[in-house]
Amino acid sequence: MNSVGPGYYLLLSALMFTVGVIGALVRRNAIVIFMFIELMLNAVNLAFVTFARMHGEVVGQVIVFFVLVVAAAEVVVGLAIILVIFRQRASANVDDVNLLKW
């Protein structure tokens, strides 16, 4: 028996998600931004697992499984893009990539 209510887990999930949002917006290193995105995904995963416990079934955990796979694919592709950009401009700063504008 778990005596800690799901509300606390959801609170933790919401706070971690917010931290991830803020980090992704204020940091400029592309890799770091990616890590904050991973943090957001993790926070959401925690929410899903909590929901699974609330409903007393494992469907929520299956969703987490899919989120994991998609996150993995996304990280791989994203890092490859960062790598290509770095080869072009010798920088991982997202603010340097601002040619596509008015």
Binding site: A24, L25, V94, D95, V97, N98, L100, W102
Partner: protein
Amino acid sequence: MELIPGNDIKVLAATTIYFPLITAFILLFFGKRLEAGRLGKRVKGWTGWLATFAIARSFAGAVVLFFELISRPEHERAIAVKVFDWIKVGGFDVSFDLLVDPLSVVMLLVVTGVGTLIHIYSTGYMHDDERYSRFFAYMNLFVASMLVLVLANNVLLLYVGWEGVGLCSYLLIGFWFEKPAAANAAKKAFIVNRIGDFAFLLGIFLLSSTVGSLAMGQINAQAGAMGAATATTISLLLFAGATGKSAQIPLYVWLPDAMEGPTPVSALIHAATMVTAGVYMVARLSPVFEAGDALVVVGWIGALTALWGAFMAATEYDIKRVLAYSTMSQLGYMFLAHGVHAYSAGIFHLVTHAFFKALMFLGAGAVMHALAGETDMRKMGGLRKVMPITGWTFMAGWLAICGVIPFAGFFSKDAILASAWHEHQYALWSIGVLTAALTAFYMSRLYLRVFEGKLKVPEGVHAHDAPWTMAAALVPLAVLAVVGGVINLPGTLTLEHFLEPVVGASHVPEGITPWILAGAALAVAAVGILLARALYMTRSSNVRRRELYQRTRPLVDAARNKFYVDEFYGRVIVMPGKRLAQFAATVVDAKIIDGFLTGIGRATAGFSEGFRRVQTGYVRSYALVFLFGAVAILSILVLRVS
């Protein structure tokens, strides 16, 4: 006694329309291919004969319907048949229903009978035309539309036929559309008719809202109850449509120009049938006209048109235009008859006029055919010697229209004048008599110049008589022009009695008066003919003509210029219209509408110029906006939940 059961009457009435209609569409879509096909190579022009057969079939149907009617007792001589449902919206129910009654059968016989003869004539006349089969397609379509018009048992269906004949008239006037004159004449006819049709449509709307039904029977039954003012308005609107279709003042201007079409078209559409649609319509809806005061207008417009047309016909040199003005004038007679409540006299004149005017148009066509398309009668003379059939038949038509006893025109014209006298409309009667004199004069002028005297043909032309197909149409029409009067001989009044259930009895003076009136009519006809002879046939006629011209110069010049009506309309109606269009094109369209659109374009461009600054290129700014959107949506949800 019924000869045929009710359902067969329906089939019979519907097929008189279907045969020409289907033939028209066959010829329209496959005419050229059929003509180029195996049969076409062996029998040149067989599509024309196909079309003629279709009309002849309708004529046969009309004859059967006629005998069916006279086999019935008088009060059962109105057979309404419903062919199919057409418009059924709520309480508004208009179906494709036809009415076979004495009036429509008379029209049916005229349209299909004259139509058949003119079709036969056309197979000869149009023989070498490159659009031979299309001509017959249009002609059949015309006959089908005309039959819809005369058979319609509700006003909306009548309007369908009304517009159908208008369309065919347009197509056939502009049949030789390579000629700018023909194309323009077609447009003129169409537009002038539109003006009348617009009024006609308004009349139908008013009828529909007043009576609540468009069925002929109901309209005529309730005509008395609709109030004099309403009835007058409706009648005047309907009559405005009739002035367009039947070439009356003020909308007659298209008819002379319509002579640009092939001559058989002029004979069928612009003399015998379509232009009489207005006359028929007034007779058909006579209770509505009787309920108000519009008949005074009808009578006077008719009388004035009769005189007006006769004046112009007397000065015109173009043989077809003389006949066109004459048609206008004779149509005026018919409306004059309606104006004095003598509907059967009007219809009687319609029938006889269809005979002799179609005859004369076809005769004129034969002359043109012989003289390589020449229409100026100053270049003709003595043609009866070289083309006897045309000459003799034309003479029959001439005597008929002049009102010489015992030719057909005498009886019908006399009936109209006698009715006018009986109604104490002496002014109308006088105009009618004056017109009769003028008619005799100008027709004699035409006939004597063209067919009598010394032989005179344009240079290099070998005049020859009409081919047998043309003669085959001329001779029967000539016979009808001679003996057509028997259908309504004074004393027997066969046609009048036949039409009585539909249009009511007409009254003529009793006793000695009709004989005096007839004598007067004959006398003025004789005066007209003798005057023409004096001016054109005697040795000193050239001198006399010059003297007369000197004396009446302003009048003759004005008439020769069609009394400047075209110019007047051009100034008063067409020019302002053009100005308005010019204004709409250069100011309203170019400045206001285009300006509005350009303004929208400019505004969009300016807005984008400013707004694109939002596109900074910084991916983190975009993410911030993204977050803002997410928070905003969530806020809305939270606020709505709480």
